[in-house]
């Protein structure tokens, strides 16, 4: 395919955003032509999807084992002495897969949003931001150098910020957006630091160059990988920077599905997978352990919080944080392809869950409008029995729940099992800490199956906890349910790209053994796995037992107890439940330990400076300043004397240092 056609992948979403933005800006009537806007925005994402699909077919029909990445570039960007950076992109196995996820799911969510955002007064702006987001995201995953990736990295952050605050109503939501921004900034600066270090060592920011010379980084690899991981914790919501993601649920639900579940939050995982040769350097081994431990801690913490939440979106948000933890566990075990595998399956079922929750919220919102009740349409305590009125939403939601819980045969089962198997077997070769990580992961898997079944049951099954005599909630329009079905089907079949190699044979794992072969080198565990093949079977059986057992138990538990079930759960967890309900007080902790000191310092630094330094010196050398002071005091600007004094002190210190130092 020609450079021009390939350029359209990146340029069309930008063009779509520009067209919608400019026309909407200039023409008031255009803003209400929802169908036209929806059509433009959706095609701006769908056409790139088909181009990537065509590139994919061309790529796979290529000759032999060694595929060269398809490359294209748009314009030169920065040309200064010595260095040239272009807006250049590459389509290799990894970017092709990510590209299809982003544009494919992106298209579905665009279609869904046409119905979801119907009659919203910011309709055109919503699609403008959405297209802009896709543009930034494509830069992030298709760019062939860190500079373009970073541009996309920041771009998705800004778009996410705009979309979180889309319905700006109160300072609370505003604070959420600001929090998201600052958390991401901290990660971004780690990223810049990593870029500088890499540039200092390799003198290039091209992934090909960096990965080729990863071996020569030596001990620097430790710091580089640590910085890259910190960068990833910001974008991909891991401890300590995960706090923004649950708050980000203030945005419209399709945004949560697209940005905060399927695409943007996985960019940290993409980054590490893309630069995995640097992580494979021996010096970076401790960092991999850090990643695995942080990931396991994040996964279980978020899962515990999810159990005690009643807001349908909040549960899904914490579930996302927890699942991202699983992906990082895979990275920490050096199983980069496994992490990407889970990125893919998670994108399917979590997007489906979020869109399903949107459909529910939409329906409950209308229902409460009709009945003139002022209840929270997101609170599952006011739901129940919805599958009767919303069969499509209920069915797809249930399928996706079973997928995330890890019911055998569905996509989540394969990817999650692979993650746990990899952490477990890393325990033999890379330190027994991985066994603990595995244990935490397995407990988290139980919790996941439990809270997801709880969520689905309380929403869709059992008795309706609202009046159904006159009004009842309605199923959403086909524009919303068709994307749900597509994602639901993908959530079922997506796992067959990676059947467990130990059980079904080497070639059954299409992702690892055919697709990523030669591009991504996982830390080699095959030998260990072979040695302990019985253990691999054992783990598989354990995973099946956990998933089926917990889902069965949770379903019956809530079928028997209804909402009362939560009271019993509370008793089981005892005093910890209060902590779970209150998200372990992490926000409050940050507020007290980080924000407050800064505010305090800002308030007091000047006062302190005046009081201790200036006054001290003035009292000490009162006579010396008296002459100046008298003159100036008469002008009622006593501070000028202080200022002059500070300047003098500065002069004395600097000159003193220069002469004597």
């Amino acid at each position: 395919m020609s450079n021009t056609v390939l350029s359209l992948i990146v340029l069309l979403p930008l063009a779509g955003a520009a067209l919608i933005g400019l026309t909407g800006f200039l023409n008031e009537r255009f803003r209400h032509q929802e169908k036209l806007i929806g059509l433009i925005a959706t095609s701006a994402v769908a056409i790139p999807f088909f181009i990537i699909l065509a590139a994919f077919l061309q790529f796979t029909s290529g000759h032999g084992e060694h595929h060269d990445a398809i490359r294209f570039s748009i314009i030169p960007w920065i040309e200064t002495a010595g260095i040239k950076i272009n807006f250049s992109y590459h389509l290799d196995q990894l970017s092709l897969l990510m590209g299809m996820i982003v544009t494919g799911i992106g298209s579905l969510i665009h279609i869904y949003s046409i119905a979801y955002m119907h009659h919203d007064k910011g309709f055109y702006k919503f699609f403008l931001y959405l297209n802009l987001f896709i543009f930034a995201m494509l830069n992030l995953i298709l760019g062939d150098n860190m500079a373009v990736l970073f541009l996309g990295w920041e771009g998705v952050g800004v778009c996410s910020y705009l979309l979180i605050g889309f319905w700006y109503e109160d300072m609370e939501k505003a604070k959420a957006a600001q929090k998201a921004f600052v958390a991401n900034r901290i990660g971004d600066f780690a990223m810049i630091g990593a870029m500088f270090m890499i540039f200092g060592q390799v003198h290039s920011l091209n992934f090909a160059d960096i990965n080729a010379s990863a071996g020569s980084l030596g001990d620097n690899a430790f710091w580089i990988t640590l910085l890259l991981f910190i960068a990833a914790t910001g974008k991909s919501a891991q401890i300590p920077l995960y706090v923004w993601l649950p708050d980000a649920m203030a945005g419209p639900t399709p945004v949560s599905a697209l940005i905060h579940a399927a695409t943007m939050v996985t960019s940290g995982i993409y980054l590490i997978a893309r630069m995995h040769p640097v992580f494979n350097v021996p010096a970076a081994e401790p960092v991999l352990i850090v990643i695995a431990v942080v990931a396991a801690a994040t996964a279980i913490l978020a899962a515990l919080i999810a159990i005690a939440q009643n807001d349908i979106k909040k549960v899904l948000a914490y579930s996302t944080v927890s699942q991202l933890g699983f992906m990082f566990m895979a990275l920490g075990a050096g199983a980069y392809t496994t992490a990407i595998f889970h990125v893919m399956t998670h994108a399917f079922f979590k997007a489906c869950l979020f869109l399903g929750s949107g459909s529910v919220i939409h329906a409950m919102h209308h229902y409460f409008d009709e009945t003139h009740e002022h209840k929270d349409p997101q609170d599952i305590r006011f739901m129940g029995g919805l599958k009767k009125y919303m069969p499509a939403t209920g069915m797809t939601f249930w399928i996706s729940t079973l997928a995330i819980a890890g019911i055998p045969g569905l996509s989540g089962f394969f990817s999650k099992d692979e993650i746990l198997a990899n952490t477990f077997f890393s325990g033999f070769d890379h330190g027994s800490i991985y066994f603990i990580v595995w244990l935490v992961g397995t407990i988290t898997a139980c919790l996941t199956a439990f809270y997801m079944t709880r969520l689905t049951y309380l929403t869709f099954f059992g008795e309706a906890r609202y009046k159904t005599d006159k009004h009842h909630p309605h199923e959403s329009s086909p524009l919303m349910t068709i994307p749900l079905w597509i994602l639901g089907i993908l959530a079922v079949v997506g796992g067959y790209l990676g059947l467990p190699a130990g059980v079904f044979g080497h070639n059954a794992h299409i992702l690892n053994h055919t697709w990523f072969h030669g591009l991504i080198n996982n830390r080699d565990l095959e030998h260990t796995m072979h040695e302990h093949i019985a253990l691999e079977y054992g783990l598989l059986v354990l995973a099946i037992a956990i998933a089926v057992g917990v889902v069965y138990f949770a379903y019956n538990f809530y079928a028997k107890n209804g909402l009362e079930g939560d009271e019993k759960v509370k008793k089981v967890f005892g005093s910890m439940y209060k902590w779970m309900e209150n998200k372990f007080y992490v926000d409050e902790f940050y507020e007290k330990t980080i924000l407050k000191p800064f505010v305090w310092a800002g308030d007091n630094i000047v006062v302190w400076f005046d009081k201790n330094i200036i006054d001290g010196v003035i009292n000490g050398s009162a006579s010396a300043t008296a002459a100046v002071g008298d003159v100036i005091r008469r002008m009622q600007t006593g501070y000028v004397a202080h200022y002059a004094l500070i300047i003098s002190i500065g002069v004395v210190i600097i000159i003193g240092y220069l002469i004597l130092g």
Binding site: T80, L151, A174, G193, F598, I649
Partner: protein
Amino acid sequence: MNFNPGDIVNFSVMVAPILFLLAVGLMLMLMDVLKAHSSMPLIAGLGLIGAGVLAVLPEKISSMQAFYGMIEVGNIAPLNIVFLCLSGVFTIFFLPDYLKRQDKPIYEVYTLLIFAIIGMIMMANASDLLITFIGLETFSIALYVFAALFKKEETSNEAGLKYFLLGAFASAFLLLGISLLYGLTGYTNLNDIAANASKLTDNPALFFTSIGLFIIGFLFKVSAFPFHNWTPDVYSGTPTPLAGFMATGSKMAAFIALGTVLIKLNFTQYDKLVNVLALAAILSMIYGNVVAVRQKNLKRLLAYSSIAHTGYVLLGLCAGKAGFVAVIFYMFIYTIMNIGAFGLVGIAERTLADTDMDKWKGLGIKAPYFAAAMSLFLFSMAGIPPFAGFMSKYQVFIAAIGSGQILLAVIGILTSVIAAFYYIYLIVIMYFGKNESPEVSPRFDWTTGLGVGLLAVLILLLGIFPSLVLQPLLQYMSGSISAVAAAF
């Protein structure tokens, strides 16, 4: 040297932009007298643009001095003229509307602005320390008047007086430094001093004292810590668009002048001098950013933020020759976004009669264009790509790292996280704050709108294509001062 009458003509041609500006300044004075007030901004703006064009019209030449070694006309000098003139042009967009705040508009501003820029050009392009000092005093006097422009307002008077007193104080240090340099070498001409560098180090104590005092004089002008304390008071009293000009044009000129002298003296070989600059950079970045977090008055916030930005530029300066392109680039980008920000604050000040941050609640809805433009400038100042502010920060960081100042760069990166906090907070206030009273919202008249649009486009354009400025800078500089191998 032999005096030759023909030289006068030759030299005059070489400094044509300055002479042209002088003529424009005189013409503006005349217009003021003849009451042709309405077209004064236009003439001033066109005059500045004309001077810029005159500067780059001739082929670029390597280093050459006019008037017997007094003023540099080759090398990067023409570009300096362009940048300084542009800072004036950007400011003029915001002046006519803002000055309506006073019952009786003040038209001397335009004349003074032209004269200030002449002073800045002289200082930036001086190759003799006397010219450096004369240039500095020329523009400083104009700036003192700017600060005290609103005669009837107490804050403005206070600002003018403070700035004048402290400015005079700092000038004394500068002059003493120059005198000592003369005492050491017998020259005030930079090239002569550089040629006799061996004499400098004969008496290290005197040498460090002289150059230290020289640096201090400039650190005051660029409001670096610990010579920063006048900044918030003066900026908040000065008419807002002119405060923007003060924070940008004059600092750019000062940084260019300081950088040129230090690089001529090859200062990076003296670790102590680098340490002084590095320490000033670190403290400016920390102090400016931390104190800015709690400012409620927008002009004070921008003042503290400008102290922080000075820190970043000093960081580039520490890299010596290699960082000089980054320094100029940073200052130019900063000029664009800061004049924009000050200009918008000025508009809001005129309509809301206050610069309190709380008054900005809900502007995102009431004045969408205003809020969007302000957000763009704030994002850029926070250093977020694809806005130009990111590129400029990137350039100074890479320069600092290139010269081994890793710690500096790390502190720079960390403090810019703090900076992001308060810039974003203002955006949050505009878009999410609920405003209680249905007050009037800020509006652009067409000149201001044009200016805001132009600056916003430049910020985006230069963020994506920084080469548009970097490339000419490198080309012009590739004479004596060789260029930074900037990354990316």
